[in-house]
Symmetry: C2
Subunit: 380 residues, 2 copies
């Protein structure tokens, strides 16, 4: 299997409502990533999008974006894993280059949530035959997890507020972030209750965005980019579909096994990781991922936030450019934003958000209620 | 790159309305394919489905099917390319095994169209910002192509009737086919006009179905199956998204380039192919594919049908087990049915439908109005 590296990245600013169409958003992200890699052609394009079926009435988005980016005749497919679709596109692009079928592949994610109502479509990541008829939504399932966590571990009601506070601090100097402003713990805890016990400022926002990365064989990477970033591991693991069927819903088995599978593939220890881009769609999910990946014992993840260990100088910096909460969570594009941010960190281009001596970065994307988890580890 | 072979197949009978749920259909196809391969575990599952977002209100189907098949903890992702999604799942499973990331991968397709109205959702394979607002549907675009073809080449109005006639003849002894009965040319030409000039019996039916295939490295294939079938080529090519933007809509560029790319990868000539599973969602599409793949000159494809050259003993047998028209076209599952049928042919298990001395078979799947085309070539 060939080693694979990132040789180009492209991001558009996350916005509440973009002036660009779905097609244009995707095409522009591709163009930016290809310009960064210095290429005008790729062999294959793998696209991610979660909601265009409902919101834009559009399927078949990979071919649409390929055309918009003037990539006539290339391979173009869509990869999906609910909210982890962006990471799925990276996974398939990785397989494409690793296998030798493509010498240059692009993974692109796009979402334009501003044109419709996202919540019902997002709930389709749950079991439509069992959970949805019972009234479940993605928000209600995360609320359930938070309630369970606070109760079992005697965590104060405001125990998770530092997750969004830190994310917002990190977003301030990220030009692509939606919310470039700090928020206080008090503001989080006084924000309106969306779905008890979840408050508004613990939930990632509805927004538009697109991002892309170009992958090439590591052996040829420097021909495109003097500072390539290698993919050290790519892992996908699934759990029992519904959290109610799991032995312990607070133990994210898929996140745990995907993390440790990735450590093994990358031949590293958890301690070697300098930053961790978590899937903080909800604060509780970031907290549970830290525990699943081994950075904290069960019930102790929130303390990493309380003790500022998740900040840039902390033990395990997370959401270093704002995370899903403050950079924004344009669903199908999120995994691609995460890679772009890790690449900026590992190549010393993260500006005020730079994690010092960052050489190994991990990202994790979560589909549904942690049913499908993708972990990628990058290194320089 | 590792050579990849099919070591197990599983099909469910195509039905107008299955008693099984979406989840059960997918799980059962997986179980059958795994039983055929003699395995109780795979490393990865790649799923295809086009319409569950709308019809069942279900996304995230790969993890759902994995759970239903008791494949706890495996990788599970969905691959998409509009109506060619089944072939996309095969493509990604192929990349997964070829790269070395998986030693056993399963591609599964499922569709349950009986629970909703498919036509509007199918139209989302067209450009939702341009074609759909103008009133286009998949049926209207294929009607347009047929009109153009009849007019340009002075083909009689009943010039394409042998495509469905032959498909139905071939379906009669296929236990998995929806329509196991012959139809006459007169019946086709007197069937009701669905969208002028397309008649009902030229269109593939709305139906339910699921099928799956297990892939393994060719080097290890005989450990699972005494008669493995090798994937000689896997190719994906896209065209201009809208047919109105193409220089000549009757020249299916993506089908042409994908076919010839596949011949090159398989290191064969077109003449070496013993059977060709086309994407006969509409008769005109089968006809245009025969031309694009080089089996007939432009404007001559229909004559292959008229002269019975598409039958089992003909120059290029197509739809050998009924094709999309008569076996049925449960969209997301169709590509998987095509592979299963080619495997039966190449291993001498096609019964009354056996193509004599069949050693090389090709399948082609079409997404949208031939916007995305996947070609796979198999050999023994």
């Amino acid at each position: 299997m060939r080693s694979v590296s990132v040789v180009g990245i492209g991001q558009l600013p996350v916005e509440k409502a973009s002036n660009l169409s779905l097609r244009q958003l995707g095409g522009e992200a591709v163009r930016r990533a290809m310009e960064d890699a210095g290429v005008d052609r790729v062999d294959a394009l793998f696209a991610s999008n979660m909601l265009a079926d409902e919101i834009q009435g559009q399927k078949h988005i990979a071919a649409l974006i390929a055309e918009e980016a003037n990539l006539f005749g290339v391979e173009a497919l869509q990869a999906r894993a609910a909210m982890a679709g962006g990471a799925a596109a990276i996974r398939v692009a990785f397989l494409s280059v690793a296998s030798g079928e493509a010498d240059l592949a692009i993974a692109v994610g796009v979402e334009k949530m501003s044109e419709g109502v996202a919540t019902p479509a997002l709930s389709k990541a749950l079991d439509a035959a069992r959970e949805v008829p019972d009234g479940a939504t993605m928000i209600s399932k995360n609320a359930e997890l938070k309630r369970m966590y606070l109760d079992r571990y005697n965590v104060p009601e405001d125990g998770l507020v530092n997750f969004p506070v830190v994310a917002h601090d990190h977003a301030r100097s990220n030009p692509f972030a939606l919310y470039k402003k700090a928020i206080s713990p008090g503001e989080v805890q006084s924000s309106r209750v969306v779905h008890a016990p979840l408050r508004l400022f613990e939930c990632s926002p509805i927004c538009d965005g697109a991002a892309a990365v170009v992958l090439a064989p590591s052996e040829q990477a420097r021909a495109y980019n003097p500072n390539p970033v290698q993919i050290l591991a790519s892992s996908v693991v699934t759990d029992r579909f519904c959290i109610d069927d799991r032995e312990d819903p607070l133990q994210l088995e898929a996140a745990h096994h995907s993390s440790y599978d990735a450590y093994r593939k990358a031949n590293i220890n958890r301690e070697d990781i300098h930053l961790f881009e978590v899937h903080d769609a909800f604060s509780i999910m970031a907290c549970l991922q830290l525990e699943a990946a081994g950075f904290a014992e069960p019930g102790q993840g929130w303390l990493l936030a309380v003790e500022d260990e998740i900040r840039l100088q902390g033990q395990i910096p997370i959401t270093t450019m704002g995370g899903l909460k403050a950079r924004g969570h344009p669903i199908g594009a999120t995994g691609l934003y995460q890679v772009c941010e890790i690449v900026l960190q590992l190549t010393g281009r993260a500006g005020e958000n730079q994690v010092r001596n960052a050489e190994i970065g991990m990202m994790q994307s979560v589909g549904g209620a942690a049913t499908t988890v993708l972990t990628h580890i990058f290194g320089v």
